[in-house]
């Protein structure tokens, strides 16, 4: 247990943490100023016999100063974070070479769909969902989907490769959250949301559902494994060898 | 009572409204105009009628600004909500 943000596991982590630290510095300074000021006033100006308060209705110059400083700071902050925001969630932020992985959320489990050899994900439609045979509603008509691999509650990722998670939900709103990646995106039924990230450190992490989604919300958890490119391909081969496309865990 | 203002011809307003309603009905039929033009015209007529009611029947035309503000303030808020909601389906 470390008393700071979780280890940095994606390319987003570093800039976001810097942002966080900057805000912490700015707010920290303000915090100290205010609280120290309060304590000082409490001692310096406590009621004593014979003292009389200084009669004033304020000072325009002071007002201007402590209006202007926050305003400027906030505008700068806004510009800083907007640049980052556009890179992460902006309309055209997903890199062209991003590796697609289908993330299908339902009460209370995750189904991850990996593209087969063709590197493309097959079409899915909610109408085709069948609890046992076809949990993610994959469309058999689409050739791109025939070699897709569906794995339950296990997300495997290649390291140092942009990945775009294509998020769809079956029933209610869930939220795809990997603390180490600093990535969070609600998964909304009826919407197909693309959220991209690039894992930088091989190892195992956890996906959590961070949007209240019902009784099993607290245990809607999946294991994340970030492999080196080679390991990832090995894993994909082994999976493909296994019964094709059958949801397994 | 402070409502001692010159009075509009209510019957005239009424005829206005009736005519505008008839015009709207006319627009409801198949016409050689695009759907958007039709929509624009219908909304224009609707707003016109609404203004007539607001200004003359509710006497906003004869009130002071401090009261008119009450009627005006909610409208931009409603529009903000509307456009924010609509923007969800066009990005």
């Amino acid at each position: 247990m470390h008393w700071w943000l979780p280890p940095q596991g994606s390319t987003f982590a570093q800039p976001i943490d810097t942002m966080f630290t900057w805000i912490l510095v700015i707010t920290g300074i303000t915090f100290v100023l205010v609280e120290v000021g309060l304590v000082w006033f409490i001692f310096a100006y406590r009621e004593r016999p014979g003292r009389k308060a200084f009669y004033t209705h304020g000072s325009t110059s002071a007002e201007v100063i402590w209006t202007a400083i926050p305003a400027v700071t906030m505008v700068i902050l806004g510009l800083m974070s907007n640049g980052l925001w556009v890179k992460i969630k902006g309309r055209n932020s997903v890199p062209a070479n991003a590796y697609p992985i289908g993330v299908y959320a339902k009460q209370f489990e995750w189904y991850f769909t990996y593209p087969g050899a063709d590197g493309k994900l097959g079409r899915v439609s909610p109408s085709l969902v069948d609890k046992n045979s076809n949990p993610t509603g994959r469309d058999p008509a689409d050739p791109a989907g025939t070699d897709d691999i569906i794995v339950r509650n296990q997300l495997h990722l290649p390291v140092n490769r942009p990945v775009v998670a294509i998020l769809t939900a079956e029933d209610v709103i869930h939220s795809f959250y990997v603390p180490e990646f600093r990535v969070r995106q609600d998964v909304v039924p009826g919407m197909e949301i693309k959220s991209w990230f690039e894992a930088t450190v091989p190892g195992s992490y956890e996906v959590g559902c961070s949007q209240l989604c019902g009784l099993g919300h607290y245990k809607m958890r999946a294991q994340v494994t970030v492999h080196t490119q080679a390991d990832y391909h090995a894993w994909l081969q082994e999976r493909t060898a296994k019964a094709q496309g059958e949801p397994t865990s | 009572m402070e409502t001692a203002h010159k009075r509009p011809n209510y019957i005239l307003i009424w005829i206005y409204l009736a005519v505008l309603t008839a015009a709207e009905l006319g627009l409801a039929f198949e016409l050689p105009i695009t759907a958007n033009v039709k929509l624009a015209l219908l909304l224009f007529l609707a707003v016109w009628k609404a203004l007539l009611v607001g200004l003359y029947f509710m006497h906003l035309k004869f009130e002071k600004w401090n009261l008119r503000m009450l009627a005006i303030i909610p409208i931009p808020l409603a529009l903000i909500l509307l456009f924010a909601g609509m923007s969800e389906s066009i990005w």
């Binding site: 976001i16 906030m74 949007q211 | -």
Partner: protein, 588 residues
Amino acid sequence: MTTVAATAHATHAHHDDRSFIQKYIFSTDHKVIGIQFLFLTLFFLAIGGLLAMQIRWQLAYPGKPMPGGTLLPETMAPGGVLLPEYYLQLVTMHGTFMVFFAIMLLLVGVYANFLIPLKIGAHDMAFPRINMASFWSAFASGAVMLASLFVQDGSSRAGWTMYAPLSARHDYSGADFGQEMWSISIILFGLSSILGSLNYITTVINNRCAGMTWFRMPLSVWALFITAILGLLAVPVLAGAAIMLLFEQILGTHFFDPAAGGQPILWQHLFWFFGHPEVYILILPAMGIVSELVANGSRKPIFGYHSMVFAIAGIAFLGWIVWGHHMFVSGMNPTLGSSFMVSTLLIAVPSAIKVFNWMGTMWRGNLRFHVPMLHGIAFIAMFTIGGLSGIFMAATPVDMFIHDTYFIVAHLHYVLFGGSLFAIFGGIVFWFPKMFGRMMNEGWGKVHFWLTFIFYNGCFFPMHIIGMAGHMRRLYDPTVYDFLKPWQPMNEFISINAFLLYGSQIIFFVNFWWSLFKGKKASENPWEDNGLEWSCPSPAPHGNWETLPTVYRGPYEFSAPGASKDYLPQNLKLPTDRDPVLTPAAGH
């Protein structure tokens, strides 16, 4: 037309020949209604806290039988161990009770009702009967919400934000009629607060006494007035949304049902379009109250009265264009996200102005540390933390990481407990004499304050830290996640502080009830304050004044050079003061 003020003056003068029922139950007297609200909301505050204690137990000791848990029915906690379904009810109802029935009603129910006519020099509200209707619909609404806990399958389980489709379909949430009851209760609540708001607004606009110009109104009245405008325009949207939610269940409509083309996001837009003004409804009146307490405690005029007023107005205005910052990761249009971020960051400016002005008020003052002042200072200190931590989630990329974690929980509790609730406690102690004619016990008041202050920070500050570690909200059992297991001791620490925090409130309740009957009799103006309310006897009689006071100056003339004492009541006529040029009151 005759204004209520005039009729009140005619009928309420001298002897008061109303029956007990008219006086204390179906009363139209704004003070009685305010006190009725006080008892109602303190009750809900206690309930909400009790629910929170159970949440904290489960988080600290997941799966362990809760002390006294065996008293709960099998459907909630068999053998004292909380069930997930009950846990979600706790989470939902804690939020609902605290936001709507405790904090909001304490501020706009208790203080608006009790203070507005007393502080602007009116005999009563503009519409006393509507005022009564507002209280009783709030009462009914609260009763329905409370009852929903005990129906088949318990109350709603979708969190107080009721995100559809989880809230829209019973088979998703597992709740039954309790879900409908939430909507019904909220619709009643909306009715209540709309009636209340239009009453407050009319009263402040039309029923001010002679000389009470706009910029001589106490900041508390300004805050309550602007809050009323927010409530008036925001709450109907919630009512509309609640109606749609109700129809999803009873009429099978499809507003939020993606399968039929509905939009789950639509609920979030409607809810937060209400919800963000609501956030300011929950803090602005507290800011107003604190301005009174701090000015009185510092024996000094409020620093920058006008900019304080404009800051309140600015916060209220910005409050309408920031709601999207609750939805940054909801799949909302990212461009919308950027604009919402900017407007959200801007809110820091008026908030900063207020904090610095309060400090400016204390600067070179002559501070009296009576209990209300202590709460006022605590408000400034704690609201600063809450406000600053808001900047983290305003910055969209950072929000992507801390959204829906305990960082948010910490933030909102620093604002709503550390902010609003401290102001509320301080206000209760401050106006207790005017309400009941007796003082609350000073010593025990201070004990309560310090215990609350310490355990409150012990409870909520660590939440920032586990939030930074990624601890999600509304988890029934955090130990499911490996990365949260190490934080269990911290969860325990938080919970222990929470229990002690709740325990120390008992001191307040005992002090409250004891002082009600045994407290020392209060003089007319025990705090040596300038407000008009202190110019009528304690407790304030029915109709407040026989002849309405006249105001000669602003409300914060402490330590004025010309004055003999270090305070100068608004209605005290100095030889140098000339009488106001009386214009006929509106509508006479």
